[in-house]
Amino acid sequence: MAGPNSLYGPIDPAPDAGYTDAPPRMGFFTDTSVCIGCKACEVACKEWNAVPDDGFNLLGMSYDNTGGLSANTWRHVAFIEQAAPSPAAMDVLREAESTVSTQFLGMPSSTLPGANGREDRDLRWLMMSNVCKHCTHAACLDVCPTGSLFRTEFGTVVVQEDICNGCGYCIPACPYGVIDRREDDGRAWKCTLCYDRIGEGMTPACAQACPTQSIQYGELDELRERAAGRVEVLHQRGVTEARLYGHDPDDGVGGDGAFFLLLDEPEVYGLPPDPVVTTRDLPSMWKHAGVAALSMVAAAAVAFLGRRP
């Protein structure tokens, strides 16, 4: 532990982890407003990192058939179909609600039956390439009992697969549901931010493959500036719903190394709206445990000392 903010609060993670002369913190800025859902990032990631496929399952979640980040999917493109119904469509809907008992037939997030023709022109199809956030305060790393997860000099978080013993603790620790255990392998896997590439000065595979620069890789400070500018531009163009996610060093995880520009609430993309690193509360947890432990000692003392045989 290097400082008072080591568990929570703004910090530069690499020096905090003990690196001297660490290079600038590197990260991803994923701008979903220009994502075209081509999934090149998913494929490039798997190709480079030799990640196995995730099985062939039609999920019916728009064009998402891998479902989410997992041990075998380190970049994942979410697809959300939204038909924001106009007032007219809402009227139709209320009418239907009160009179008809039609089945709901569409995929979740689909539009409303009856809202066809001109009413549903406000159709939105959101796409977003999700990835490990490489948190400033990474719960997965904090809770790892073997030291398999470590902080790199670039401020990223990487699993050493030769150390990991598959205890699985990192998996529920992650507030974003990123890291996962691979079934046939038993170990935990997640995005490495292409540690083996960035060390050589190369761009991570996903960012390299992204045709529209939805995924941008670079120095985190610079990316944050760029992202703020992009939000401003979008707001000027009337895209008022554009907002950043994970960019703020004051948030519950101390800011993400991989942050996003979203066009709707985070939970719509399957992201937690206000993630907090669980280890923020660790000192308090131990305190409570200590009190509980003392109460055990006290109970034992009373039980035995209170009545001599």
Partner: protein, 864 residues
């Protein structure tokens, strides 16, 4: 575009980032629509009505780029007095011959050019041989001297003809035909016209689904008319780009894999029309034309010298007699029927998977099952190599493995990274590819295969005295080889394509050096210059920031490394750029030559004010403002007096299969479409034929980003298969309700050819359209699935019948009618009965086929 060309789409996103407005017109809300500023859904197959509406908007508001239009297009040219429009004849142009279903285009000609016209018998031959595609590099025959009215007031000038033709394509008609509301249509028109003119240009980008209609060529013609009217051709940021479905589709028409072309768009000789070398060469040259086709003889002789080397001499007409001849329709679909009928014995398939990728999959498979032998070269054991054991026809009993007579030879192919060569992309740019690694095991390149096949065949025939073996024996077939497998040197082939001096072997620097005396050989005249100075120009990779914004030193573009064709039009008639912002090439009066950022597409020293003496032909006949130098009259064609089989101007016809009666004309569908009326090719009825209600829905197909065409390159890869693992069909919530379809449940789609099953995706991205008070439901299917690979499913292309565009013989495989039902389809022989029942209900019984000419067409029908 985002869906099928995500890499190219980065430039659209880049433009959007800089403030561009992106409008997407598509039947279905796709990944492109998702990032577009405006999504305009329209009915499949109604594009000409839509584009015609744009033309009408431009003309009726006089928004055309008048100076450009008058100088560089044929707007001012007069048309014959005899010409009658579809507006007068219920949807037919003048000259229709019902007995052959073709036009005699004599009345379509320019004033005084009637003698140039082909007969309707010629039109028949042209349709059989897909002659329209020869016009890719040059206009069809017209004379250079024309009558013009530059005030555009003469009622017979092209401008006025065009204006009358499209006068009825009002926003209200667009709404009735396409389902696009007038206010939204207005937005598109305004955006397109506002972004065109002196200071701005608009590019029209289409994907090749546009070509897959019975009026496919006319779709693109309609786009071309708009681009010409708005002055968007021959200028930077303008043009019309076709996004192809594969790498180097442009290359495979330049050096064709088509039955009717030779390299450089020289026509494949026809046994009757081109009996002798002179007849052939003159037919290419089109006596009396202006422009560069006057040198056709040089290109033709040099090609024959490349083919036959020393054996090609003036005495034997350069070996012209050894070239094969067309005798009619040898197109891919005719061949399929010939296979079914037992007329074809052997077949080569290279990088093509017709069992999945071509229309009417069942006919494709039944055809291939009736051969003596079939050679399949592909990366994987695709469906076209395994149909004899696992096609849907095995299940129905139509193919019995033990009885299937076809012997299939599967030869594994090297992939594009395992061989060297060039790709030619949509901008005609050749880019050399290095080989990244050796192909594994028995996989070999195409070049290796053809070279050694030719070598072995020639060895076998060396002692033959048969006349028919002469062509093969006389071929110049010598290329250096290297390595363990004797791989031919691809650069040596490129050198031959570039052309060389026969005496010295020195590479030519361009097609202007080609001679008609046998002193030069050239494999493809338009590619001449790609090996100029003995350097592989296609391999150039100078970074953009190290050269001008035109980047002439990246790769090589035909012709003559010219990046924009007809770029003379980027300057005004006097040779001055239309605007500083859009300056590209211009006339330098001091030096007395054309100069600029690109290679000028004009004679270098021809003054803008130059006017040829009347009657001058060839290059000398081009005036200083004849920017469209390959056209017979030097002008861009708003109106095509010749060359098109189905009319001089695009006209809205319904697709061959449509639930709607044509709202504009008595004539229902393209009256000269190429049909194959056979019991095994039943087309669903369309009005005014009865029983179209049996197939009430419109369906279309296209690609998913995650897969590649027939799936041979994607369904074998786990990383792609997992992204779209199963065949599905997209329907709107309203249609789902109507047919009781459940999201993620099964449904099957039925046409007169097949019934296929798929999982259901109920999505608001598809929406019913309201047309003329009637709700039209559209269904969308991807066409990537078949029976082999990691993931399998029914093939959407099985649903289509075979009807072709008459100009280029491309099938209508982007629109059809169907029924859709919940649940899985029947299996085994019951499937055949099931489809037969639909045929019975639609009264499709092989005794009656819809006539090409709709009864009532051909006369003024007062439908205005």
């Amino acid at each position: 575009m985002a869906e099928a060309h995500p890499v190219g789409f980065q430039w659209v996103m880049e433009a959007k980032k800089r403030g561009a407005t992106v409008i997407h017109v598509d039947p279905r809300f796709t990944r492109t629509s998702a990032v577009a500023d405006e999504f305009v859904p329209l009915r499949v197959g109604s594009d000409i009505a839509f584009l015609g509406g744009v033309i009408n908007y431009i003309l009726s508001n006089e928004l055309d780029f008048r100076e450009y239009v008058v100088s560089y297009t044929n707007a001012a040219t007069l048309v014959t007095e005899g010409f009658q429009d579809t507006e007068d004849l219920g949807g037919l142009f003048s000259g229709y011959h019902p007995e052959t279903g073709t036009y005699d285009p004599v009345t379509w000609q320019y004033e005084g050019h009637e003698e140039f016209a082909q007969s309707h018998e010629d039109a028949h031959v042209h349709r059989e041989t897909g002659a329209g595609i020869q016009h890719e590099a040059h206009g069809p025959p017209v004379s250079g001297s024309v009558e013009r009215d530059e005030t555009l007031q003469d009622p017979r000038c092209v401008y006025q003809v065009l204006k009358r033709h499209y006068a009825r394509y009002t926003p209200e008609v667009v709404e009735r035909v396409c389902g696009v509301p007038p206010e939204q249509f207005q937005k598109v028109c305004e955006a397109w016209t506002r972004n065109s003119g002196r200071e701005r240009t608009t590019a029209l980008v289409y994907s090749v689904g546009w070509t897959q209609h019975t009026v496919g060529v006319q779709y693109i013609r309609a786009g071309a008319i708009i681009q010409l009217l708005l002055g968007n051709m021959g200028r930077p940021g303008g043009g019309i780009m076709a996004l192809r479905g594969h790498a180097s589709i442009q290359g495979s028409t330049d050096i064709p894999t088509l039955f009717n072309l030779l390299p450089g768009y020289l026509p494949m000789p026809h046994f009757k029309q081109h009996e002798t070398f002179d007849m052939w060469a003159e037919a290419i040259r089109h006596l009396g034309q202006k422009g560069f086709w006057a040198y056709a003889r040089c290109y033709a002789v040099s090609l024959l010298k490349a083919y036959f080397g020393e054996h090609a001499t003036e005495e034997n007409d350069w070996g012209y007699g050894w070239l094969p001849r067309l005798t009619g329709d040898h197109g891919t679909y005719q061949q399929v029927f010939n296979m079914i009928d037992g007329k074809i014995k052997g077949y080569f398939l290279l990088g093509q998977n017709p069992a999945v990728g071509s229309a009417h999959g069942r006919a494709q498979r039944l055809g291939m099952a009736n051969l003596d032998w079939l050679v399949v070269r592909d990366l994987y054991m695709i469906e076209s190599a395994t149909f004899w054991k696992d096609s849907p026809e095995i299940e129905t009993g139509e193919i019995v493995t033990e009885d299937c007579r076809t012997e299939v030879f599967f030869l594994p192919a090297a992939s594009h990274v395992e061989k060297e060569g060039t790709f030619t992309q949509t901008q005609r740019m050749l880019q050399w590819r290095e080989k990244a690694l050796d192909p594994p095991q028995d996989c070999r390149s195409e070049l290796w295969f053809f070279y050694h096949l030719g070598r072995l065949v020639r060895e076998r025939l060396a002692a033959s005295t048969l006349e028919r073996d002469e062509p093969v024996k006389r071929l110049a077939w010598s290329y250096p080889t290297s390595g363990q497998h004797n791989e031919p040197d691809a650069e040596s082939v490129l050198k031959e394509i570039n052309g060389y001096d026969v005496a010295t072997g020195a590479p030519l620097s361009g097609f202007t050096q080609l001679q008609a005396d046998g002193s030069t050989a050239c494999g493809c005249w338009i590619y001449s210059g790609v090996f100029a100075d003995g350097v592989n120009q296609a391999a150039r990779r100078k970074p953009g920031q190290e050269q001008s914004w035109v980047a002439p030193e990246w790769g090589w573009v035909w012709p003559a490394n010219r990046r924009i064709l007809y770029n003379r039009a980027s300057a005004d008639p006097q040779g001055v750029p239309w605007s500083e912002k859009k300056a590209y090439v211009w006339w330098d009066p001091e030096k007395g030559e054309w100069t600029g950022h690109d290679v000028p597409d004009f004679e270098k020293t021809k003054d803008p004010s130059f006017r040829p003496a009347p009657g001058t032909i060839g290059v000398d006949g081009l005036a200083g403002d004849d920017a469209f130098i390959m056209q017979g009259d030097g002008k861009g064609w708003l109106y095509a007096p010749a060359g098109l089989i189905d009319g001089p101007m695009p006209t809205h016809y319904e697709p061959a299969e449509s639930p709607l009666r044509n709202p504009l004309y008595s004539q229902q569908a393209n009256p000269v479409r190429k049909v194959y009326d056979r019991p095994d090719n039943q087309l669903n009825p369309a009005p005014p034929e009865r029983h179209s209600e049996v197939f009430p829905y419109v369906f279309t197909t296209s690609r998913l980003t995650e897969h590649h065409t027939a799936g041979g390159m994607s369904r074998q890869l786990a990383y792609l298969s997992e992204l779209q693992p199963a065949m599905f069909v997209e329907v709107s919530p309203a249609l789902a309700e109507e047919r009781g379809l459940e999201h993620m449940g099964w449904a099957h789609v039925i046409t007169g050819r097949a019934a296929i099953e798929a999982r259901v995706l109920v999505t608001a991205r598809l929406r019913p359209l309201r047309l003329d008070g009637r709700v039209i439901h559209q269904i969308w299917l991807p066409y990537h699935w078949g029976g082999s690979g990691l993931i399998t499913g029914d093939s959407a292309n099985d649903l289509f019948g075979i009807t072709l565009d008459p100009n280029v013989l491309i099938q209508e495989s982007k629109v059809g009618t169907c029924d859709i039902r919940a649940g899985r389809r029947p299996t085994g022989p019951a499937l055949l009965d099931y489809v037969a029942d639909y045929l019975r209900r639609a009264r499709l019984d092989a005794t009656h086929y819809a006539p090409l000419e709709t009864p009532g067409a051909g006369e003024s029908d007062g439908r205005t």
